[in-house]
C-alpha cells in the first residue's frame, strides 16, 4: 500500500509541477498567525494563490522547514545551534513583523495602567515579589491604591514564541533569572512559580478568572480581548505602552538589523523593551527535492508581496509593528538572495 501511495504521490507531484502553482504551505509561529491569516486571505483574492499556514509554534515551524515538509516556516526565534546543524542547507530569515508582549493582570477595581520594570517582572515570575502591595510595586505606582492580594503569575504552558521573547527580556534584565531559568530566548522554560495556561486564550482566561493574577500575552491579543495591561520601563527610564506601535517600531529602529536579518531587540535602548521580530523562513537555494522553479517563484512572489505596502497594511489594524526603514532594506536584500540552483529568481 505504501508503494501505491508513493506512486500516486509522484504522479500527482508531476502533474502539479506542470500546472501553475496555486498552493503554498507554511507552518510555525502562532504569534503572527492572526496577521498572516489576514495577509493570506488578501493574497488569495489578489494573486489567486492559496497559502495554507498552520499555526503550530515556532519550533514546529523550524522543524518543518528543516525536514522540508513545508514551503516556508514562520518563527519568532532564530535557529538554535542544534537546529542550524540539522538544516540541510542555508535557510534565509526574512523579518516580517514586529510584535510586543505585554504584562496583563487582574486587580479588582483598578482602572489606571500599572507600571513595571523588567527587574520587577523577573522578581514576580521568580516568586520573590508575592503581593501586589509589596514595596517594589508600590514604589513604581505611587498614586495607585494597591490591594493586599497574592500575586499569581500565569505562564504559557505550551511552547511559544511569546514566552521566548518574554524570557529573553527577563534574562537580559535579571541576573537571577539568567542564572536559574533561561539565558536567552527559549520557547518553553521551567517557571519556578505560577500556573500554566495553554495558548493566549488559556493565559488570558486564567488571568481574568484569578484576582491577583498576572500574565504575559501578545499586545494584539490583549487589545482584541480588551485586557488590562501595564507599562514597562525601558532603558531610558520611560514607561512605555506596548500597544503603541510607534514605540515598538522605535525599539527596532534603535538597533541596526544585521545583514542576516536576525536580531534580538528586547531591552532595546529606546522604544518598548519587550518587542521582537517574527520571521519567514525559506531555503536560500530553492532548488531541492523535486521542487520546480515555478514553485520557488511563487514563494518568492508571496514573501515579496508580504513585505510590500500591500502586505504591510494589515500590521496597523492588528497592532503588529511594520518592517520598514533599514530593516525593510535588509529584508528585501535577503529575499533578493534567494535563488533557484544559482539562478536568480526574477
Amino acid at each position: 500500500m505504501k508503494k501505491l501511495i508513493l506512486a500516486s504521490a509522484l504522479l500527482t507531484a508531476s502533474m502539479v509541477s506542470a500546472q501553475q502553482v496555486s498552493n503554498i504551505t507554511g507552518s510555525g509561529a502562532s504569534f503572527p498567525f492572526p496577521l498572516y491569516t489576514e495577509m493570506f486571505n488578501a493574497y488569495k483574492t489578489q494573486a489567486g494563490v492559496s497559502v495554507n499556514y498552520a499555526s503550530k509554534g515556532s519550533g514546529g515551524g523550524k522543524r518543518d522547514i528543516i525536514n522540508r515538509a513545508v514551503d516556508f516556516a514562520g518563527s519568532d526565534a532564530p535557529f538554535s545551534a542544534a537546529e542550524a546543524k540539522d538544516a540541510p542547507a542555508e535557510v534565509s530569515f526574512v523579518p516580517m513583523a514586529l510584535g510586543a508582549v505585554v504584562p496583563t493582570y487582574n486587580i479588582p477595581g483598578l482602572t489606571t495602567k500599572l507600571k513595571f520594570t523588567g527587574a520587577l517582572l523577573a522578581d514576580i515570575y521568580l516568586g520573590k515579589v508575592k503581593k501586589w502591595n509589596d514595596a517594589p510595586i508600590a514604589a513604581l505606582n505611587k498614586n495607585v491604591k494597591l490591594p493586599d492580594l497574592n500575586i499569581t503569575p500565569v505562564y504559557r504552558s505550551d511552547g511559544s514564541g511569546t514566552t521566548s521573547i518574554f524570557v529573553d527580556y527577563l534574562a537580559k534584565v535579571s541576573t537571577d533569572w539568567a542564572a536559574t531559568v533561561s539565558k536567552g530566548p527559549q520557547s518553553s522554560v521551567k517557571f519556578p512559580v505560577g500556573v500554566g495556561g495553554p495558548q493566549n486564550a488559556g493565559v488570558a482566561g486564567l488571568v481574568r478568572q484569578t484576582p491577583g493574577g498576572i500574565g504575559y500575552v501578545e499586545v494584539t491579543y490583549a487589545k482584541a480581548n480588551k485586557l488590562e495591561y501595564g507599562l514597562v520601563r525601558n532603558k531610558t527610564g520611560k514607561f512605555v505602552d506596548g500597544g503603541d506601535l510607534k514605540e515598538v517600531a522605535a525599539a527596532s529602529d534603535a538597533e541596526i538589523l544585521p545583514a542576516n536579518g536576525i536580531d534580538s531587540i528586547t531591552n532595546s535602548s529606546i522604544g518598548y523593551p519587550i518587542s521582537g521580530y517574527t520571521w519567514i523562513l525559506l531555503y536560500k537555494d530553492q532548488k531541492y527535492g523535486n521542487r520546480t522553479k515555478a514553485q520557488a517563484q511563487a514563494l518568492v512572489d508571496l514573501v515579496q508581496w508580504m513585505l510590500s505596502s500591500k502586505g504591510q497594511e494589515f500590521h496597523d489594524k492588528l497592532d503588529y509593528g511594520r518592517i520598514d526603514g533599514q530593516a525593510a532594506k535588509v529584508a528585501n536584500r535577503i529575499l533578493a538572495g534567494v535563488n533557484y540552483g544559482g539562478e536568480a529568481i526574477k
Binding site: M1, K56, G57, S58, G59, G60, K62, R63, I66, S80, A82, E83, D86, N150, T152, S157, D158, G159, S160, V181, S182, K183, Q186, S187, S188, V189, K190, F191, V195, G196, G197, P198, A201, G202, G205, L206, Q209, T210, G212, G213
Partner: protein, 308 residues
C-alpha cells in the same frame, strides 16, 4: 444429466489458497503497524534514553532550559490523574449501571442509558473548552472557599491536578458504566430470584447476589477506563497547568505524559523532541499494558457465574 464443464480457476480450491494468502497479508498489516509503532518511537526516542539512562524514567528534572529530560513527574501525573479520576468515576459508574439495570423502570432506564453514552460522544476538544470555561472557575470557587475555611496560604487558580481529575472522571464514566452495565445484565436471573426467595432486600440482593458475580467484569471495565484516562490528551492539556513537576497537592499544577507531548511537541527540537518521542514510547507501553490487563481480566474472569 449435468453439464459439468471445466470451471474457472476462481471456482476451485486453488482460489481458496489465494484468498487465504490475501487475508493473511491483510491481517499481517496489523503486526506491521504494531512493529512500526515500536520502531518509530524507539528510534526517535533513543537519543533521549541514551542520554538520560534510567534517569529518564526515574528522574524528576525536566527542563528544556538546561536540556535535562527526566519523565517521572509526567508518569506520576498520568497515574495520579488516572487513578484520581477512577476514584470518582467508579462509584458513580457502578451506581448508574445499577440504576439502569436494577432500579429504573424501562421508560427511564433507556433514556438514562443513552444519555450516559452521549458523554462518550463528546469530542475531547469540547471537553477541553468546557474545562477551561466552566470547570476551572468552578474548581477555583471551591478552592477559594477552602482557603476561606482553612486559612491556607494558597492562591486559588482552579487549574491543576483536581481539574484534570474531574474532567477525566467525566470522560471515563461512560466507558466504565457501559461495561458495568453489561456484566450486571449478564448475572443470571436465578441469582436474583434465589436471594429474593431468602427474604433479602433489594440492596442485599445486589450486595450478595449480584456484585460478587459482576465484580471481575467491573474490574476489567475499571482498568479499561484507566487506559482511556492515561491516553487522554487535549482536554487534560487545557486544565492541568502543564508544570514539569509532581503535584504538591490536589490543586497544584502538574502534567501528564500525553499533555506534555501535546503542549511541547509543537515547539520542540533537538533532544527535547527525542525526549518527547521517548515519552510517547513510555505512554504507548503503559497504555498497552493497562489495556491488555483489562482484556485479560474481562475475558478470563467474566464467564458468567464465576466468582473471583
Amino acid at each position: 444429466m449435468t453439464t459439468d464443464v471445466k470451471r474457472p480457476r476462481s471456482m476451485t480450491s486453488a482460489a481458496d489458497t489465494t484468498f487465504k494468502n490475501i487475508i493473511i497479508s491483510l491481517a499481517s498489516l496489523v503486526l506491521v503497524a504494531v512493529f512500526l509503532y515500536g520502531v518509530v518511537l524507539i528510534a526517535g526516542g533513543f537519543p533521549a534514553f541514551a542520554r538520560e539512562g534510567f534517569g529518564f524514567i526515574f528522574g524528576l528534572d525536566w527542563n528544556p532550559g538546561t536540556e535535562k529530560f527526566q519523565a517521572l513527574p509526567f508518569i506520576a501525573g498520568s497515574f495520579l490523574t488516572g487513578f484520581g479520576a477512577l476514584i470518582i468515576a467508579v462509584p458513580l459508574s457502578v451506581a448508574a449501571a445499577l440504576f439502569i439495570v436494577e432500579y429504573a423502570p424501562k421508560w427511564l432506564a433507556v433514556p438514562v442509558g443513552y444519555m450516559i453514552e452521549m458523554l462518550a460522544a463528546i469530542p475531547s476538544v469540547v471537553y477541553g473548552l468546557w474545562g477551561i470555561f466552566v470547570l476551572i472557575p468552578a474548581v477555583r470557587s471551591f478552592q477559594s472557599w477552602l482557603v476561606g475555611v482553612t486559612g491556607l496560604d494558597w492562591t486559588p487558580t482552579g487549574i491543576g491536578l483536581m481539574s484534570a481529575i474531574l474532567v477525566l472522571a467525566v470522560m471515563v464514566i461512560p466507558y466504565v458504566c457501559a461495561i458495568a452495565r453489561d456484566v450486571i445484565q449478564l448475572v443470571p436471573n436465578d441469582q436474583r430470584e434465589a436471594a429474593y426467595a431468602l427474604g433479602a432486600t433489594k440492596w442485599e440482593v445486589i450486595r450478595y447476589g449480584i456484585l460478587p458475580y459482576a465484580r471481575a467484569g467491573i474490574l476489567g471495565g475499571v482498568i479499561l477506563g484507566l487506559g482511556r484516562a492515561i491516553g487522554e490528551t487535549l482536554a487534560v492539556t487545557m486544565v492541568i497547568g502543564n508544570a514539569s513537576e509532581i503535584a504538591k497537592n490536589l490543586f497544584s499544577s502538574t502534567a501528564t505524559m500525553s499533555s506534555l507531548i501535546a503542549s511541547q511537541f509543537g515547539e520542540a527540537g533537538g533532544v527535547q523532541l527525542n525526549a518527547l518521542i521517548a515519552l510517547g514510547f513510555l505512554l504507548l507501553v503503559f497504555s498497552v499494558i493497562v489495556n491488555l490487563i483489562a482484556r485479560v481480566v474481562i475475558t478470563k474472569l467474566t464467564p458468567v457465574g464465576t466468582r473471583l
